[in-house]
């Protein structure tokens, strides 16, 4: 794999040109982009007005009443007991090629990961910069491996680090048993690359965050609202896979071909 070394330099100085979540970025825009923005605002009027006129009425500006929001009502009330959630989640995640391991606590999770990394002779490991993951004490447990902590310094090209890692370790924010899905989010401490670029992905999930339905993960995103949403919310249901060659299943096409959920608690 060839890495563009210029890119890594660019990354650290990228802050200057970056666009914050809610600020008006017109001021710092290069002229061509400012021009596109202006054009966009002009076109918006015509574009949306055209839609209204095709719909045969004046422009709607009030929120319409949406009587069918979300899942059918019988579904919204439905849930499994914890035991069943664990069983279903495990069955569904495994059915599509993922692995689920139950551990009592973070200490046990750390032990399991260390053993796994040793068995596989993992050399490069990258994890999110989260206090829980620190408690895994992987640095002590795996003195021979190189352990990188996402975004712990400004010099490193973190994407490249993740791409070169054998194992990436992330914390799930929640999970849905019905679809066998874990949800991970992005932030400065939680690079999206950590669950995407390494060969193996290990997801830590507290049992208390395992829900029944996908809706139990989605509705809170509406409640958080635009300004509180992370840039990336990723729902992961198993290993990267494709059947594009003669329907023959291959795993690890672009993302991790091996994925573990460590169910804690």
């Amino acid at each position: 794999m060839s890495l563009d070394t210029n890119r890594s330099n660019d990354l650290s100085k990228s802050k200057a040109t970056n666009i914050a979540n809610t600020v008006n970025h017109n001021a710092t825009q290069p002229p061509w982009l400012a021009e596109l923005e202006q054009r966009s605002r002009r076109n918006q009027q015509t574009f949306i007005d055209h839609i209204s006129s095709r719909l045969g009425r004046p422009r709607a500006t009030e929120p319409p009443i949406h009587p069918f929001r979300g899942a059918p009502s019988f579904w919204k009330e439905w849930s499994w007991e914890e035991q069943e959630r664990v069983e279903r989640f495990t069955a569904h995640f495994q059915e599509v090629g993922g692995h689920v391991v139950s551990v009592d606590n973070l200490e046990a999770a750390g032990e399991w990961i260390a053993q796994y990394a040793q068995d596989l002779e993992a050399r490069e490991i990258v994890r999110q910069q989260l206090p829980e993951l620190e408690q895994l004490r992987l640095e002590q447990r795996l003195p021979d491996a190189h352990l990188a902590v996402w975004n712990e310094d400004q010099q490193t090209d973190w994407r490249a680090t993740a791409a070169g890692a054998d194992i990436g370790i992330v914390m799930a924010e929640g999970a849905a048993a019905y679809t066998g899905t874990v949800m991970v989010t992005s932030s400065a401490m939680q690079g999206r690359s950590v669950s995407l670029l390494p060969t193996v992905c290990i997801v830590l999930l507290y049992k208390k965050n395992l829900h029944t339905r996908l809706g139990e993960l989605l509705v809170p995103l509406d409640q958080r609202g635009r300004q509180q949403l992370p840039a990336g919310v990723h729902f992961i249901s198993g290993p990267s896979r494709s059947s594009d060659i003669e329907n023959d299943l291959t795993i690890g096409v672009h993302g991790p071909g091996i994925i573990y959920t460590l169910l804690i608690g």
Binding site: N18, N43, G191, G232, S242, T250
Partner: protein, 507 residues
Amino acid sequence: MSRSEKTSATVKERADIALNNDFLRKAVRFTTERLRNGKQLASTEHGNWDEWRERGRQIRLHTIAHLDYYLNLFVENARANGVHVHFAEDTAAATEIVMTIARHKQAESVVKSKSMVSEELHINHALEEAGIEAVESDLGEYIIQLAGEGPSHIVIPAIHKNRYQIAELLSKDAGEELPPDTTVLAGYVRRKLREKFLDADIGMTGCNFAIAETGSMVLFENEGNARMVTTVPKTQITLMGMERIIPSWEDLEVMATLLPRSATGQRLTMYMSGITGPKRDEDSDGPEEMHMIIVDNGRSGQLGDPEFQELLNCIRCGACLNVCPVYRQIGGHSYGGTYSGPIGAVLTPALNRNVAEWDDIANASSLCGACYEACPVKIPLHDMLVYLRRRKVERGHGNRWESIGMKGFAILMGNSKRLGTALKMGRILQKPVVHNGTISLKIGPLKGWTTYRDMPPMADDPFRERWSKLEQELQQDQVTMDATVKDRMEQLVQARQRSKRGDFDES
């Protein structure tokens, strides 16, 4: 390479080319069969399927009926998130915006994840003309790109290629001999594309759904390439049909229930990603600059048209392709447009607003109604095909005999809808054109069939029954599949069943 919307060959001629390719038919039938069964499995396992479909339909109907409000809301929110939103009324406008961004970014390469809109706009062609490399990163798309072809199925673009053909293409690409082994071939593509991702200046994606209330975009995929495209390059460009909107994340649960189950029989695709704006200041990955181009390109023509507005409800799952006897017979490329199968037969002429083209594609359908029954948002495609025929005749593109026949259609369609009536009409309309017990002049719903298959007059046998016979016939055809190909495919299925990975569970 034929990526033009309408090549000079007719559907019939293209179908003949397709029909000559034995493997194509077998592979298409095998895959669609498997996906269809997978879908049946997933939707029975998931109870109350019809209630979910109805819910999906209602959400789509509601959003489209208020599209001006929701699209505007989406745009305002996406902008507030720091996205550069652009509007393009047609291919030329969309291409110009992409090229402007690419030029100012001094882009040398663009890495893409699957986007039907980009196919529709022929963006790769425009990029390549400007000397910019456009790399498709979906495994199937990468393969057909090497072959210089367009996708033949919405969900499985390289459905028509076998592993030997793929090994040959990839060997040429690699400059060394690669064995026809799926793992080796996929491994090669992984390595090759990793480099492309890390080198690319721009990542380009489509958009499955756009959430109005938070200005987020949602992508469904299995390989992780869409995640790569939205994580690694510094600039992201997303092409989005203007109708992709849903109001909320809560509504996404319904779409996430319907789309993967209908497309591939999965509970959920391996990845579903919601992207809300470019990377935050402190983030070390994700795009620094994010553009979304909202494309009309003929879509607004369906708005306010009572017969076709529901086309905009389509969530591009491909289920109607998998159940369509005509698609299963002739394969995707025969449709000659970006979108194939029953949805393509209606969408292509609707987007092109070209009445003269309508007969050709609209006839590549049996009007059996299977597409409607499979559709997760209940789009009455078979009715639309009849409307298309009628409009074509109304606008003077039909011949005299057909016009007489189509007037009969109009009268009958006036008081009743859907399959039953259309089928009864099929029988009535045959009357003036049946000679010596066979149909000599091909009218309306029968034309497609009589062109591609010999069909005796329907007499008193309802089309519905005939359809089930036809299906049996198609399935019997499969028995004549080349024995070695069949063996291999069966082994694959069995192996997967044994491995307990869920035999109908991948895309």
